[in-house]
């Protein structure tokens, strides 16, 4: 790959998605973009870069972004954050918001939907406590392709086995010839939208809790700071922020503080 090619592609990807590809990760460009080249009858990445340079808004350009995003996710990912949400934060919210009886949760960079559907199952599991409440989950991602999968809500055996306890599988999924489909009672809490984290967050409502897990890792510090500041604006005062298990706010922002005893969970200052 020409040096110029690496420069064009990595700058384009950073600009459009925030994702930083360092030179040591050049193999990622090769392994992931090979298929895009093939799909568009381009001989190699040098030709692809040339196309991107001349028409950055083409279909090829968005295929590049789709190919470079990592969509890996699963139900109840890392389990503890969801246990903390159910056992500690939800009871607190129910107590705090008893007059308005509405809880708004945001699942940012939701990928194929496992995260918002996990939250939704938690709401369903607590529906006697939440009788008469509105529990809304707004979920967004950059990628339209992955959002289509999320909206359909059909998962393979492999996907439902990772993280999801079997009693919840039989309770909240229907089995059909394509796999396991999330039941409507779980879907009804979730609204999916396309949104780029690099752009101003286009939501009227404020959220009590934001899940922003396993996406900041792809960005540089400056981008992380900007995103967290945007998220902060969309949180209610003292609202909660959940980050991934390898992510932190240290050295990135002082708009949040760590919640004692709950790893990866922060409170808006």
């Amino acid at each position: 790959m020409k040096t110029e090619t690496f420069k064009i592609l990595s700058e384009f990807i950073k600009k459009r998605s925030g994702i930083v590809i360092v030179e040591e990760k050049i193999y990622l460009l090769e392994s992931r973009l090979d298929k895009v080249c093939g799909d568009h009858n381009l001989a190699n990445l040098d030709e692809l870069a040339l196309k991107i340079k001349t028409s950055p808004l083409s279909a090829i350009a968005s295929d590049v972004i789709e190919a470079m995003t990592t969509n890996e996710t699963y139900f109840y990912r890392d389990s503890t954050p969801f246990v903390d949400f159910e056992k500690k934060i939800l009871p607190e919210l129910i107590e705090l918001k008893g007059t308005r009886k509405a809880i708004n949760v945001l699942s940012a960079a939701c990928s194929s939907g496992q995260e918002p559907y996990t939250l939704s199952m938690i709401f369903e599991e607590n529906k006697t406590l939440l009788q008469g409440w509105r529990t809304d989950i707004t979920a967004f991602d950059l990628s339209n392709d992955i959002l289509d999968i999320a909206k359909e809500g059909v998962y393979t055996q492999f996907e439902v086995q990772r993280g999801l306890p079997v009693n919840l599988l039989v309770k909240y999924f229907d089995q059909n010839n394509k796999g396991w489909r999330v039941k409507d009672e779980v879907k009804k809490h979730v609204t999916f939208k396309q949104q780029n984290l690099l752009e101003p967050l286009n939501f009227i409502q404020k959220f009590d809790v934001v899940f922003l897990r396993n996406v900041l890792i792809y960005f540089d510090v400056e981008t992380k700071t900007k995103i967290l500041s945007e998220i902060r604006k969309k949180l209610v005062p003292e609202g909660y922020l959940f980050l991934g298990s390898s992510e932190t706010i240290i050295g990135i922002t002082d708009e949040f503080k760590a919640v004692e005893g709950m790893r990866g969970i922060y409170k808006a200052k």
Binding site: Q157, Q161, R162, P165, V166, V170
Partner: protein, 121 residues
């Protein structure tokens, strides 16, 4: 050391599963069918059981029903590991007292996850 009983009529599966649970820090014991598994439990009750469904002599479901009627037979965590992937089978397993259910194929990651979920790890 916690004990894990691996019940499967396939030698290869028993070997693979035993290796995985050993690496997770368990003492692995093996049984080739439900009858052998039952005898093994009478001898000494394990902490967790990885259980195949289709086996000669006594199948996994029959064994599980018998196990849950044994003294202390309610104690072990039972995880089915089977090619039976229909929701009706899963329901039956849960009704008989299974704690978790793994649809083959499986790998070390999945076993670890289910062990964590059931609190055995």
């Amino acid at each position: 050391m916690k004990k894990c009983l691996v019940v499967d009529d396939s030698k290869v599966i028993r070997m693979v599963a035993s290796k995985i649970v050993t690496e997770l820090g368990f003492d692995a014991i093996e049984a080739v069918d439900g009858v052998e598994a039952y005898n093994s439990c009478q001898d000494s009750m394990p902490d967790v059981i990885l259980l195949d469904w289709n086996m000669p002599n006594k199948n996994g479901l029959e064994f599980l029903r018998d196990l849950r009627n044994m003294p202390n037979g309610g104690n072990p965590i039972v995880i089915f590991v089977t090619t039976e992937n229909g929701v009706d089978h899963i329901q039956k397993a849960l009704e008989a007292g299974a704690n978790e259910y793994i649809m083959k194929p499986f790998d070390a990651d999945l076993i670890r996850m289910k062990f964590e979920q059931t609190g055995i790890l």
